[in-house]
Symmetry: C2
Subunit: 302 residues, 2 copies
């Protein structure tokens, strides 16, 4: 049995359009309706036949949905939820894909106080954006974290979990606030650091930007990938998960200061000890199938 038969996706960017493609691949009998606030994106979605239907308004897109997934930047979740409030069927389940959960839970529950809302976050993506950047296998082998709040109907949670399993994801359940702490470490802080270092490197006076680009294979280019992620999405994440991000940032800064001091005082043993420890983490990530075992991320070398 399909967990859902009529899926509506609000927001047809990288994640929304990947869900559309993945539903068609893994649950071909389910109907997919799409909506995006941007008329140009709706046009593209129509042109590439992304969904069975592309609705002209958010309201009409949900009229007979049994699952509505909000795939917009976290700062736009409240407005997206408000936009469907008048037309949402009473038995539809609402979910989302936001990268932080406490703020989204609050925004959606305010806009849709009577809806069954099962927040979720597929931890997957690429640096590309828009309806043409998505692909059906994006969630294969990745984790989707479901963060139901107390009192949410258990069957609704189970159906959302089953939906993500069908798309090829592994599913985990977590409280929204714990999610926000975990993702602050594994996703938000890394993005913040990547954006910062790319900014720092492009602001040098004596080292030209063309030199930074030419010699980026020394390590810098790795950071430019996530620093090419969608600016709106990430601005919203940092503003929405402020406390956890600032806390992780504080810890990172302390550790960086310690390392800076070790370099200044020539404490090679401290550096060596850290560099040996960090190597083991990479091994675990590869062993657990969360990254490519090929050297250099499997980049082509010829």
């Amino acid at each position: 049995m399909l967990p859902f038969a009529r899926v509506t996706i609000i927001g047809l960017g990288l994640i929304g359009s990947s869900i559309a493609r993945a539903v068609r691949q893994h649950m071909p009998s389910a109907r997919v309706t799409g909506f995006d606030a941007d008329p140009a994106v709706r046009e593209t979605a129509l042109r590439i036949a992304l969904c069975d239907d592309v609705a002209d308004t958010a309201g009409t897109s949900v009229i007979d949905a049994d699952l509505v997934i909000l795939c917009v930047p976290v700062g736009a979740m409240g407005a997206a939820a408000a936009g469907i409030a008048a037309d949402l069927p009473a038995d539809a389940i609402v979910s989302d894909v936001g990268s932080c959960k406490e703020s989204v839970v609050e925004a959606v529950r305010t806009a849709l106080p009577d809806a069954t809302f099962v927040p979720a976050h597929p931890v997957a993506g690429t640096e590309n954006s828009g309806p043409e950047a998505g692909f059906a296998s994006l969630f294969h082998g990745r984790w989707c974290i479901v963060t139901p709040v107390a009192g949410t109907d258990a069957l609704a949670v189970e159906r959302v979990r089953e939906f993500w399993k069908r798309l090829g994801a592994e599913v985990e359940t977590m409280a929204p606030d714990h999610h926000d702490r975990v993702l602050a470490v594994t996703s938000h802080l890394p993005h913040l650091i990547a954006y910062t270092i790319v900014g720092t490197a492009s602001d040098m006076e004596e080292v030209t930007q063309s030199e930074v680009i030419k010699y980026s294979a020394g390590g810098f280019r790795d950071f430019t990938r996530i620093a090419a992620s969608d600016p709106t999405m990430w601005r919203d994440v940092f503003l929405a998960n402020k406390e956890a991000v600032l806390d992780m940032l504080q810890r990172f800064s302390e550790d960086l200061t310690a390392l800076q001091r070790a370099i200044r005082w020539g404490k090679g043993d401290e550096l060596f000890e850290l560099f040996t420890r960090t190597r083991a983490i990479r091994r675990s990530i590869i062993e657990q199938g969360q990254d490519d075992a090929a050297p250099d991320f499997g980049r082509t070398h010829d």
Copy 2:
């Protein structure tokens, strides 16, 4: 005409063993002799037939070489140079592959005051180490920076440049001190930041290490690749290029503090402006062939 006919490689790790393979592929008539201070590495090199000869001592490895390339951690360059001083032919050219140049120039010139030394740095690598990690195409399309000091024989410099071009690299010439500033930005600072954030993430109390690994696809895993690089090599780099690294680190910290403040005060426009600017750098790196155009570094998604 071959730039060199008898190449000796001292240090058979990732870079040394890649040079051996690349010389065999691109200059098959040149003879390659290898030496490594570690007997286990010499044994592996023999077993996999990496070179034409593997010498038992550094001295015998250089006896009739016309090019000797030092491929050891930058902190070991002085000792490696001293180890060949008694046996180096007068007309041999000595080069190296060190990631910082001022300290290496000083160490090698002290150990080999009369040798013709042409320092070089191929900006290429992977996170793997050792004689089995190398491959012939590692330098294809990457830059090799040659940093001759004033008074170096122009023909010797030209032969080293030609050698690297034959291995598939693009070659640039630069003063050693400028090299060290440029690489502090494009390579040393990124490695330092990656090592730090991987350390920070693995030291959390409330977020377990298994959670960090499970949800690493949110961005964190990108940093673990370069944080898996050789600990000895990188300890030496930070100690040898201390001033430039500390200076870049200071700039990075200032920029990070500014971003931290923008988050604390909810200044979304500042975040958005930076995140838009950093996106353009990625595009330039791809346009100039210094990274894979495929999303997510070309990682497999199924």
